[in-house]
Subunit: 228 residues, 2 copies
Amino acid sequence: MIVQTQTTRPPQAAKVADAKVEISIFADCPDVIGVGSIYQQNEEIYGEGELADQVYKVLRGVVRTYKLLDDGRRQIAAFYFPGDIFGLEPGENYSATAEAVVIAQVAVFQRRQIHAAASSSIEVARELWSRAAQNLHHAESHMLLLGRKTALERVEAFLVEMSQRSQRSGHVNLPMSRRDIADYLGLTLETVSRTLSQLQSEGGLQLSGARRIELRSRKLMGAMATAA
Amino acid sequence: MIVQTQTTRPPQAAKVADAKVEISIFADCPDVIGVGSIYQQNEEIYGEGELADQVYKVLRGVVRTYKLLDDGRRQIAAFYFPGDIFGLEPGENYSATAEAVVIAQVAVFQRRQIHAAASSSIEVARELWSRAAQNLHHAESHMLLLGRKTALERVEAFLVEMSQRSQRSGHVNLPMSRRDIADYLGLTLETVSRTLSQLQSEGGLQLSGARRIELRSRKLMGAMATAA
DNA sequence: CGGGTGATTGAGCCCGCTCAACTCTCGTGG
DNA sequence: CCACGAGAGTTGAGCGGGCTCAATCACCCG
């Protein structure tokens, strides 16, 4: 595992901090590994089952967490975008593997710091619970998608989720490959590709390059009401 | 919603308490609705989106939580057995519906009591986080099942999970219907039934009545090593 | 302009679904 | 005690959505 540590604070770091109102302990809590580590595309950040001694916050880039079966079948549990926390475990070991989807800068915190902060502050302890519950809610919704939705519904739901997490205006920039999308949605990459083509031919969206999508239909723009 | 409140402590309650070593706040925290409410088979305990003002602990019976799509497609997120807590939300509303699978006795706690306990005790706050994370780990494993496993693998995993949660000896008693199993595994009830028949014909198990199963193959007895 | 990775598209198949008939179980009442 | 009915489970036949395998295309670097 290669970890490059930045020794000087890059200009982006301040910008990222601005972008999110910090009610979090992670705003105060100093990250011991400097301002952030950089992980290259597809580089592993931690592996499932490893000792969960660090907690991470995405500063730039995107991270995926996933589980594997013996024969290589993969299920991506979640994508993490700037501002998101991952690797936060009350137990001893990580329950999934984390990798950088694209080159990513992450803040690294020591597990014991988090625990210490939670021991001295009820607000922090409450926030840990709250974050775990948010992840659980996402997982419950995703189980409904994986267990009961059609390929078309899954891809539509994915586009809505990505557009909500991206900036505004109906333009979605997908940082991940078709294979990543497929492994997130429980489909094959061919089915994802076909479904996107189908949505384009029906006028629901416009692909401009495989990873840039302009949403056209009202249905795919569920998040447009938020924050004009 | 019909809630019958027991006014006298039934003999089973003490037995249930013995069955689980209580490190939990829920052992100390008095449940304000007496010793337990009884819910009839298929009776709703709370609905998705309702105000999450109560937390529940199963004393007897089994509970399911699930989400629905508009057209009735259902995904069961989890089954809760005696000793399990459900309905524990940091947010305002329940994220899924809860129903009794069979007639169930549950202890009922007020949300504000839990929050008060968490505010005065780090151990309690830590336990809330830990329970949420356990549920999240279960959900992550279930996403892998729903997104990537075959029907046979799903049914096998279900039997292993149920045998782990039941008592010992390779005998599994299924309290839920084939439809419940199917909605938990992301299959149809016919596929569940066919797969069980297939496992029986291959000698992996023996059905004695639809809801009583004797596990035969080593593969389906993953939990046998635990607690002789 | 050429090489390589990622994405798209096509053809055919198969696993799990749909629709339907039958069986089993169990409770209820004669 | 048996007859009956209703709900749950099983089994069968056929279909189809998404998968597999494969070829082609698009884009990005050099």
